[in-house]
Amino acid sequence: MIGQRVLRVEDKRFLRGEGRYVADIALPFMREAYVLRSPQPHARIVSFDASAALALEGVDAVYTAADLPASLTPIPCRIPTHGDMTPFLQYPLARDVVRFVGEPIAVIVASSRALAEDAAELVAIEFEPLPVVADAKAALDPATPKMYPPGNIATQWGFDLGKVDDAFAQADIVVEKSFSIQRHSAMPLETRGLIASYDKARSYLEVWGPTKVPHTNRAMLARMLGMRDGDIRFAEPDVGGSFGARGEFYPEDIFIPYFAIKLGKPIRWIEDRQEHFASINHSRECTFQVKASATKDGRITAFDVVLVADLGAYIRTHGDVVPSHAAASFPGPYAIRNYRVAATAALSNKTPSGTLRAPGMFEANFAREQIVDMLAEKLGMDRAEIRRRNLIKPDEMPWYVGTQSVNRPTLFDSGDFPGLFEESVSRFGWSTPLPKGEGPVRRGRGIVALVEPSGFGPFESARIEIDPAGFATIFTGASNQGQGHETMLPQVAAEVLGIAHDRFRVRHGDTAMIPYGGGSYASRTAVMGANAVHRAALAVKAKALAAAAQMLQAKEDELALDDGKVIVAANPSRFVTLAHIARVLTPGNAELVPAPKDFIKDDHDGLTGEVFLRAIPSGTAVFSVHMADIALDTGTGELKVERYCVSGDVGRAINPMIVEGQLVGGVVQGIGGALLEELAYDEDGNLQTGSFADYLLPSSHEVPRIEALVVEKAKSISNDLGVKGCGEIGISGVAAVLANAIAHALGTGARPTKLPLTTERLLDLVEPGS
């Protein structure tokens, strides 16, 4: 089962239009909410008058911060940060000051969404504009007025490893360059949404729509509202993509449930796309100043990096994790011991930011891999060769970079980087000549090497239940936004239990079904979720064998699992089915545990297995190589990606089809980030890209044929299955490899240092100074 290209069981409902996303759920007496958001980037709310809106027939309420509990705290940061972030946290609804366009001010509840929008137009708000901090550059300028009493810088930190200055002094060559990565976001095709319903008499709040980390967020809501964990259920419906942006603990996650309690009726809030642009976490906006040195035989001796990230107006639940990962992992897959980084997380009057698939890594790879090419160019060395000479070797594993991010050491547990590198280079045909450019078209080829973390902690859970009819259910603490867990997790259990994968159902993302869950992020479900399922299946197997031994009057080591049965290996005609065992192990069944005569006693707990699995905090490292051929039209700046190959050593592919899908899909999302997507602001803090007409996603025409090379060279040494996560390697190197290919095509030393790579920027590179 593991390793097979099993077709996905969830596809049928999606293809038939029977997926059930949050907007597809409706409850009796349900009302619809609209979130009234700030049109101002930075302003004091002078007055607020909703009387005309409340007079509209069908409008139930217009709630503001004053309707939330007075004791409500700002939304806490849920992971460790560099420094104290408490001054910069966001209240669920703005109190007296708004700090970005899109900040929630009020919630209008009405009989329909259209009516709520009509009412929103009748709310009169008077603002007193405050000075705007437009970007990180302004934030760093001491003359800029302060957004917060401590200033416009959330935190600064750094590392200084080895002897960086000595390395530069002794180096044969030094190169230097600055790079900037634009603000963009995950942009899942389904917007966010919630339905909250409260049974007051039984004190039970149910919320549909949470995903990614439902258990964590439920606990946060309980703490903030002073409720009990057991009084709240978060349930994940089908989810239309996440890519890192969904599942933060967003303001709506607090006030929609709270106002459903307050109103006494279910409330449904379905974000529209216009809201989404201003309210979903933005990501990626940062600059790198990089200096690197090498010896003349191509040994990279030091990196010196200044990283400035623009995190927007507030620190959200993810804190400074994005620049933190970038700073911690900048040296990438290379054996570099002299590394210095000075990192700054700046604040500005823009939407707060969080993670986007390969957070910090897409950005760092864009800078580092271009610097590596610059070193090669200066040395006159082949660009594959310089990488080859610097990759961390298998015998150097485990490799500690020497940095930390969110209190985790940056650790590569295992890997055969040179092995995959050589296989990738030869598969792509790195040395084969490029087709000649015709007319104004110039061709170029790029290569990048990178390493991604996967399978971060802290833990994951799984329970498997086999019912007396022989059907199995997997309950997982992981959540699913389209990755294929309903197929992949059963493959793992099926391998152990000898039951066909389609005899399983998977229940996920529901706090009522499993008491603790980690969730899905950081390419972790194949690592943590699947290993938890694997151990739960082993527990079920042990239980089944023990029961079968009694039932068959055999020794456990004589037994084997086969196609839903436990057989006596030497005589397969002697068997009991798992269904039979499940029946016998059902509490109350008297076959193995007769009823007591005089005193109660422990009973069976079913043919079940439950596992809580603790993770290695830093997870397991995945190595990947990206290569691409591009054609640049030097007359128009139009870029065509002609060939793309992405490889990844995933240790063990549970379902290679799904792994390839992650790689190819990731590459295309990366093409969007490299060439098209930008959340642009004007200098006054107004979001300029508020529709899909100006925030451009790649379409079927913009993408090349992509070859995904999935290998199983270096099994992870830190989990039973040997798997590594595959969700982020596809996107991680795209901007870097396209930039390197473009620079190669230009052949003039000019480099694309500023994303996205529009026709204008590319033509600027062709015609410097024009």
Binding site: S112, A114, E117, G635, L676, L696, T758, T759
Partner: protein, 286 residues
């Protein structure tokens, strides 16, 4: 993103449509809705009454009569794109439409709706100007005809007066070969710069030419001087160099985040050269 409330009528004759449009101050016609409905959703358009032109049979259809091709304003872009008679009669229109939107938007979007909307970056206005189309307008005083070059006035502004509707486009048989080229962020997007080129060569002489730029200003720009040079000097390599030197780069006023005016200006000569060469190399001879 739900539209503000409005009333709705679906007349079946042009006369009734005109009457309804005259009866409400903020009445607005809806054709294919591919631009108007998004504007309704963003509440950027807030008509009191929508007058739906989709039920008026006389507004749809493609008809060739006496050398003139008449395309009803409500004819779907997909129908025009797939029409053999249009391909024969006015290949430039088909070449332009290949750059317009996507199959689902062309299935519903109309040829007249796009012209009446007059987005400065849209492809069809440039094609209409380059084809010397005649725009047929109906109003309470009857029909009037306006040359395409006079019809498109500015950004989202045409010769249509309140209460009038565009009923048809009339095209004489296209003189010469043509090409439509553009640079856009993605295929199907509005162009950063678009070029409609048409060149009629007879006995080695250039007897007619049209070169129309789109996406660069409030409306499409006809390159009169460049056309004159083509007609005087013929479509020779030397003449093309002169044409490129005579392009109205000063007309570029569009300057946006997605493309600066300077970028648009430098794209224009390159695209014009390619468009003229593509037209001359074109196998499609009307």
């Amino acid at each position: 993103m739900k539209p503000a409330p409005f009333d709705y009528e679906a007349p079946t004759t042009v006369a009734d449509a005109l009457k309804l449009l005259g009866s409400h101050e903020d009445a607005r016609p809806i054709a294919g809705g591919q631009s108007l409905v998004p504007m309704l959703a963003f509440r950027l358009a807030r008509p009191s009454l929508l007058v739906d032109l989709n039920r008026i049979p006389s507004l749809s259809g493609i008809e060739e009569k006496g050398g003139v091709l008449r395309i009803g304003a409500m004819t779907r872009q997909a129908k025009v794109l797939a029409s053999d008679v249009v391909k024969r009669h006015a290949p430039l229109l088909v070449q332009a439409l290949e750059n317009v939107g996507h199959p689902p938007t062309r299935a519903r979007g109309t040829i007249g709706g796009s012209c009446a909307h007059a987005d400065p970056a849209a492809e069809l206005p440039s094609a209409m100007i380059a084809l010397d189309a005649t725009m047929v307008i109906a109003g309470s005083g009857g029909e009037r005809r306006v040359r395409a070059d006079d019809f498109f006035i500015g950004a989202f502004e045409t010769a249509l007066q309140p209460g009038e509707i565009l009923v048809a486009l009339e095209l004489s048989k296209q003189q010469g070969v043509s090409a439509f080229l553009e640079v856009s962020a993605r295929k199907g997007d509005f162009g950063i710069v678009t070029v409609a080129a048409r060149v009629a060569v007879k006995d080695g002489r250039c007897i007619d030419a049209a070169l129309v730029l789109g996406g660069i200003a409030e409306r499409s720009v006809r390159c009169a001087e460049a056309e004159r040079i083509l007609k005087e000097q013929g479509a020779t390599p030397k003449a093309i160099d002169a044409v490129l030197a005579a392009l109205p780069l000063d007309a570029v006023t569009m300057d946006s985040r997605s493309a600066s005016a300077a970028h648009r200006r430098r794209l224009i000569p390159e695209l014009c050269r390619r468009a003229i060469e593509a037209a001359l190399a074109s196998q499609v001879t009307p």
